[in-house]
C-alpha cells in the first residue's frame, strides 16, 4: 500500500515554526524528517515516522506555495488563498528575509550579479550553509536591491514599505544594499575580524551623512549613492597634511589637549602625522571608485592596525579622535570646517566601531 496523495489543508493555514526553519535552512524533506526525529518529537507526541513524513511534506508544500508571495510581501497580506493571522504573516516574512551572519559576510559589498550567484556553492561549502539557503538569501538581497535601488526617499523606509520587515531587519538590508551599490571591499583577510554588524553600523552612518539624501531628501537613489560633490570637495582637506604648519599646529593642539589623559600619549605623539596623513588621504582619494571600494581596507591599514600595534585602548582611540576632529576648528587657516565635520563625524563613528580585535 503506497500513498499516492496525502494532503492537509486548513481554513487557517497551519504554520509550524520549526519546520519553517528547517525549510528556510534548505533541508530536504528527508533531512528535515531526520532532524525532527532527532529532536525527540516522536517521543513527545507518540507519532510515527510516517506521520512525521506526511506532516513535513505538507508544510514544505505550503511553504513552497507561499514562497512566490514572500517575494513580494505586500502580496502576502492581500492575497486570499491562504488565511494567515497577521502575526503569523509577519513571522513568515521576517524569517524568510532573515539571513545568516556567515553568509552575509561572504557576499557583503559584492556585486549581486549572476557571477556572484555562481560562487554560491563555494560559499555554501565554506560556511556550511546549504546551497538552497544560500540561494534564498542571495536572491533576497538581490530582490531588495532591485526594488529600492532607484527609489527616492529613505532607504530604510522604502525597504520597510516594500518588504514589510521589522525596523532592525530593514536597517540591515539598507546596509546590504548600500554596500552592494558601492561595492565596498569587505572580504580581505585583514577585514575578516569585522562582523556584519560593524559594517552595518558604518553603512548607517554613511547613509545618514555622506549620501545625497543627507543634503536633499527628494533625490532619486538618494540613500544609495554617495554624494559625488562631497567626495570631490574632500580633496580640499588635503591641506591639513600638505601644509606643514597646519599639520604641526594640529598636532600641537591635539597633544596639548590630551597630555596626561592618554595611556599611549607618546606613541600618539610619534604617530600623529602618520595617522593624520592616513585619515586625510583616505578622504582625498574618495573621488576614485576604486578607492571608495577600498575604504575599509584603508581605514584598517592606515588607522586601526597602527593603533592596535601600539596597544591603544578603545578609550584612547575615542579621546584621540574626538580631539583630533575638534581641534581642526581651532585651525585659523583652515576654511573647510563643515566639510571636515561631515567627513570626520562619520569617520570617527566608523573607526570607533571598527576598532576591536
Amino acid at each position: 500500500m503506497t500513498s499516492e496523495l496525502d494532503i492537509f489543508v486548513g481554513n487557517t493555514t497551519l504554520i509550524d515554526e520549526d519546520v519553517y526553519r528547517l525549510w528556510l535552512d534548505g533541508y530536504s524533506v528527508n533531512d528535515a524528517v531526520a532532524l525532527r526525529v532527532r529532536s525527540g518529537i516522536l517521543e513527545q507526541t507518540g507519532a510515527t515516522a510516517g506521520v512525521l513524513q506526511s506532516d513535513t511534506m505538507d508544510h514544505y508544500r505550503t511553504f513552497h506555495m507561499l514562497e512566490r508571495l514572500l517575494h513580494a510581501p505586500p502580496k502576502l497580506l492581500h492575497q486570499l488563498i491562504f488565511q494567515i493571522p497577521p502575526s503569523r504573516q509577519a513571522l513568515l516574512i521576517e524569517r524568510y528575509y532573515t539571513f545568516d551572519e556567515a553568509f552575509v559576510r561572504e557576499v557583503l559589498g559584492k556585486k549581486l550579479s549572476k557571477g556572484t550567484k555562481k560562487d554560491l556553492d563555494d560559499i555554501s561549502a565554506k560556511t556550511g550553509i546549504t546551497l538552497k539557503s544560500c540561494r534564498r538569501q542571495f536572491d533576497n538581497f538581490k530582490r531588495v536591491f532591485k526594488v529600492v535601488e532607484e527609489m527616492r526617499g529613505s532607504l530604510v523606509d522604502n525597504i520597510q514599505q516594500h518588504f514589510l520587515l521589522s525596523d532592525r531587519l530593514a536597517r540591515d538590508y539598507a546596509a546590504i544594499v548600500f554596500f552592494a551599490n558601492n561595492r565596498f571591499e569587505t572580504g580581505k583577510k585583514k577585514l575578516q575580524y569585522l562582523s556584519f554588524g560593524d559594517f552595518a553600523f558604518c553603512a548607517e552612518l554613511m547613509i545618514q551623512n555622506w549620501t545625497l539624501g543627507a543634503v536633499d531628501s527628494q533625490m532619486d537613489d538618494m540613500d544609495v549613492d554617495l554624494d559625488k560633490e562631497f567626495l570631490q570637495d574632500l580633496k580640499e582637506l588635503k591641506v591639513l597634511v600638505a601644509d606643514k604648519d597646519l599639520l604641526d599646529l594640529h598636532k600641537s593642539l591635539v597633544c596639548a589637549a590630551l597630555r596626561g589623559k592618554l595611556g599611549v600619549f607618546s606613541e600618539m605623539e610619534t604617530n600623529f602625522k602618520n595617522l593624520s596623513r592616513g585619515l586625510v588621504n583616505v578622504a582625498a582619494k574618495l573621488t576614485h571608485n576604486k578607492d571608495v571600494r577600498d575604504l575599509f581596507v584603508d581605514l584598517v591599514e592606515k588607522f586601526v592596525e597602527p593603533c592596535r600595534s601600539d596597544h591603544w585602548t578603545l578609550n584612547d582611540v575615542r579621546l584621540f579622535l574626538n580631539q583630533y576632529s575638534a581641534s581642526v576648528h581651532s585651525l585659523d587657516g583652515f576654511r573647510h570646517q563643515t566639510l571636515w565635520d561631515r567627513y570626520m563625524g562619520t569617520l570617527r563613528g566608523c573607526l570607533l566601531r571598527l576598532y576591536h580585535d
Partner: protein
Amino acid sequence: MPGKLKVKIVAGRHLPVMDRASDLTDAFVEVKFGNTTFKTDVYLKSLNPQWNSEWFKFEVDDEDLQDEPLQITVLDHDTYSANDAIGKVYIDIDPLLYSEAATVISGWFPIYDTIHGIRGEINVVVKVDLFNDLNRFRQSSCGVKFFCTTSIPKCYRAVVIHGFVEELVVNEDPEYQWIDRIRTPRASNEARQRLISLMSGELQRKIGLKVLEMRGNAVVGYLQCFDLEGESGLVVRAIGTACTLDKLSSPAAFLPACNSPSKEMKESPLVHPPSHGCRSTHNSPIHTATGSRLTQNFSVSVPTLIYTGMGSGSAGKEGGPFKALLRQQTQAALEQREFPFLTLTAFPPGLLVHVGGVVSARSVKLLDRIHNPAFVGIMGNTRSYKLLDWNSFNSDEPETRDAWWAEIRQEIKSHAKALGCHAVVGYSESTSICEEVCILSASGTAAVLNPRFLQEGTVEGSLEQRIEENLPVGCGFCHIPYDELNMPFPAHLTYCYNCRKQKVPDVLFTTIDLPTDAVVVGKGCLIQARLCRLKKKAQAEANATAISNLLPFMEYEVHTQLMNKLKLKGMNALFGLRIQITVGENMLMGLASATGVYLAALPTPGGIQIAGKTPNDGSYEQHISHMQKRINDTIAKNKELYEINPPEVSEEIIGSPIPEPRQRSRLLRSQSESSDEVTELDLSHGKKDAFVLEIDDTDAMEDVHSLLTDVPPPSGFYSCNTEIMPGINNWTSEIQMFTSVRVVRLSSLNLTNQALNKNFNGLCENLLKSLYFKLRSMTPCCLCHVNFTVSLPEDELIQVTVTAVAITFDKNQALQTTKAHAEKTLQRASTDNDELLQFPLELCSDSLPAPAFPATKEHLESASSNSGTPAAQRAVTVEKASPMGDGNFRNRSAPPCASSTVGVVKMTPLSFIPGAKITKYLGIINMFFIRETTSLREEGGVSGFLHAFIAEVFAMVRAHVAALGGNAVVSYIMKQCVFMENPSKNQAQCLINVSGDAVVFVRESDLEAMSTQQSAVNCQTSCPGEVTT
C-alpha cells in the same frame, strides 16, 4: 420584468502577466447574465487595473435571477489575435433575493481559471432591485430562504415544520470522458461549471416553489448533490425540510422565556438553545433493506433485513395510553404527506418524542445511456452551452430517477412503520457510482414526533407549551415507540434507568445529533466500522447482481463491528450514524462513522465474550483467555478514558434481568425461538449473539485483532462526528476547519479481503493519527463533525477525504463540569435542590475563557485597517484575526504588517461558532469548481495540485462570504471531491462541490458587557426551568 440586476466592476489586482514583452496586461472585463453581455474599457498596461465602470444594468425575470449565475470574465486585450481569457468569477445572486439576507455583494473575488487556478482578484459590486409584481411567485420562488444547517437556524423560530421536499434535475454531462475530449479542456470545464450552476439554480427555484405550495417560507437542512453518471448524464438532486420560520427580531427576544442569554452563549451541549442544540437519539435496531431493483426488466430481489443489536425479548408491560394517543395524532398529521421525513438532525424542544432506531434502504441500479445524440454534437462544438430543457426533450429521464428514489423512500417509510414510528428524522440520501452501476442509499432515524409542530394553526407561543407533555426529563426519546408485545425484532428491553417508568432498548443507534436534554455519562467518542469486500469484475446485470448479493453481508458486518466497538468503549448508544457503501470496479467498501456515548437511561452494556470452537486444545484455550483478558482490559481502559462511571443502580430497583456474562450467552442463544414470532424475515444476529465472538477460523481472529488495533486519540484530543462532543461544553473560541485527502494504491493484485481490511483500517487510523499530530498545538481540543468519505477512483486506488473542525476547550473546566454532570445524573433521580446550584456555577465559569484577548486585538486591528471595501471592513471590524498561533510572535518587534485588508472568514461544518453568536444568515453558499492540469509534475505532483486546489476553493468560499458582508460559513460541507489522475500524461482533474450558510457572527465578548448583569439575574430564575424541561 420584475428585477433589475446592477453590476459595477471596480478594479483588479495581482493580475497575471499576459504580455511577455512588457510584463504587463491590457485587461478588460465581460459581464454576462443570461444572454446579455456588457464590457468594460480596456485598461492598458497594468496588473492592477482600475476600471471603475458604470453600473451595468440587466433587466430580467426573477426566474432567471434564481437560475442564472452572474458571469464575470476577465480578458487580456490583444489587437492582433483573439483576446486571451484570464479567468472567471461566477457569482450566485440568490442571497440578494431575500429581503433579510444580504443587500449588496461587494468585494474582492478571486479570478478563477480551470487550468491555472486563481489568477488575481477583481473587485465587483452587485445589487438587485426587485419590483413588486403580483405574479412574482408564479414561476420563481424568490424569498424562500435556504439553509444547509440541519437544525432550526439560530435567530429564527420554527412556527411550522411542513416536512420533506425533494427535487431532481437531469442533464447531459458536457464532459463525461474528460481526458479524451477534443475540445479544449478549459472550454469543457467551463461549460460544465456553468451547467451545474444553472442546474442548481433551477433546482433551488423548483424546491422553493414546492415550499411555497406547502405555505412554508424556508428550507432547512438543504442538501444538494451531484451524481456524475458519466455517459448517462448528470443528476442534480436535493432534499430538505420545508418550514415556516419566524425571524426573531432582537437577539433577546429570540430566547425562549426559559433560557437565559448567558446560557445561549455558552454553547454547552446541555443547555443549547432550542434552535440549534437539540440532538436526539434512538434505538439500536438498524432496520435495513437492501432492495436491488435494477432498471428495465432486470431485477434481483434481496430479502429485506432487519438488523438488531438486541439481546432477547423480555417482560411485557403495556406501553401506556399516552404512546398510543400520540401515535394516532402524529399519524394524522403526517398522513397527508407522502414522505414524513425530516432532514433535520437537531430539533426544537418537544418535537422529538421517541426514537425507534436507524432505518436504511439501498438499491442497486443500472444506469442507462441517455439517447440524445443531437446534443452531444452541440456540446462538443460550442462553448456557450445552453441548458437543455429536459422536460420537453427527454421527459422520462428525470422521472426514472424520481421513481428510483420514490421506491427507496417508500421502503424507508415502511421500515419506520415497522418500528412503530411515523416519521423519519436525520434523513439523508446518497449514491455511489462506478461505471454503469449505481447504489442508491437512504437512511434516517425512525421517530415519533409531536404532531403539534407539524400542523399549521398552532402558532405563536405554542412552541414552549408543546414541551409541556408529560415526558420524563432527558430520557423520553429513548423509550421504545413500538409495542413490546409485538416487537418488530427481538429486543432486550429494560425499564428506563432514568425514569424507571418506560421501557428502553439496551442499545440505541441513530443518525441524529444527541438531543440537548439527553443525560449522558462521561464523554463520547468517534466510532468507525471499516470494511472491504472484493468483488469480481463484471458487466452490467452480472455486476449489479454481484453487488446486490454482497450488500446484505456488508451491512451485517458493518453493524457487528459497530456493535462490538461500541461495547469495547463501554458505551450504549450511537449518534450521527452514517454508513457509506462505495462501489468500485473490483471491490466494495463500507465505512460507518458515528459518535458513541453512554446514555444514562440505557442499561450498562455487557462485555464481549470470546468463545473458541475447539475447547479441548489447551494452548488454544490459553490464547482465547489471553484475548479475553485484552478485551476486558481495553474496556476498562476506555471506561476510564471516557470517564464512564455511571451511578450504580441496584438491580432490585430496576428489576431488569441483566444476566451474568455466562448466562447471557446461553440466554441469547435461546433467543432464536422468540425471533420466530417476528413477522419480518430476520437475518440479524439471530442465533449468534452479538456479544459473543466465536473464533472459529483465522478470519474471526483477524476481526478480533482489528477491534483491538483501534488506538484511542492521544491525550488532550477527543473526536466525534456529531455537532458537539457529548460531555464537553466549555469550548473556547479557537477553531480550525480542515480537509485532508489521502489516496493510496493497493500494492498486490491478488488481495484478500483480510489484507484489504487491514490496509483500509491502517489508512483511516493513520489519517486520524496525522490529524492529531498536526493539530497538537490546539490541545486540549476536540475534532467535531469528523466526516469521512471513501471513494474508489480507480482499480487499485482508495481515496479517503476527511473534513472536520478542531475546537479548543478549557480542560480544567471540562473536569469540573463533568464532575458536575456525574453528580447531576446521580441527583436527577432524586430531584435535589442542590441541583439548582450546579447550573449557575457552570454557567459563570464557562463564559470566562472565551472573551479576553480577541477583544483587545479587534480594537487594534480595526483601528489600523483604514482602507478596503465596505464588505471587507465590515468583516474586519467584527472579527479580524483567528487566534491561531498568536503569541508565538510576541518577542519580535512588530513589523508594519497590520494594514491587511483581508478580513478573516471562519469556516466550520458545525451550525454554530463557539464563543460567538450568529446574528444574521446571509444566504446559502453552493459552489462547484473544476480544476484541471496538463502539467501535473510542474505543479508539485498530485499532492501539490490538490493541495493548491482545495486552498483555492476555501479562498473562493471565503471571498464570497466576505462580499456578502459575512464573516463565517457554518454547516460547511464538501459534498464532493472527485479526483482523477493520469500521471503518464502528466494530467489530473478534480471536481469539488461545497456548500454552507454564510453568516454574520458577533463575538460573545462584545455582547458580554450588555448581558452580564442580565444573565446573572436570569441564571437564577431560569435554571429550574431548564432542569424540568
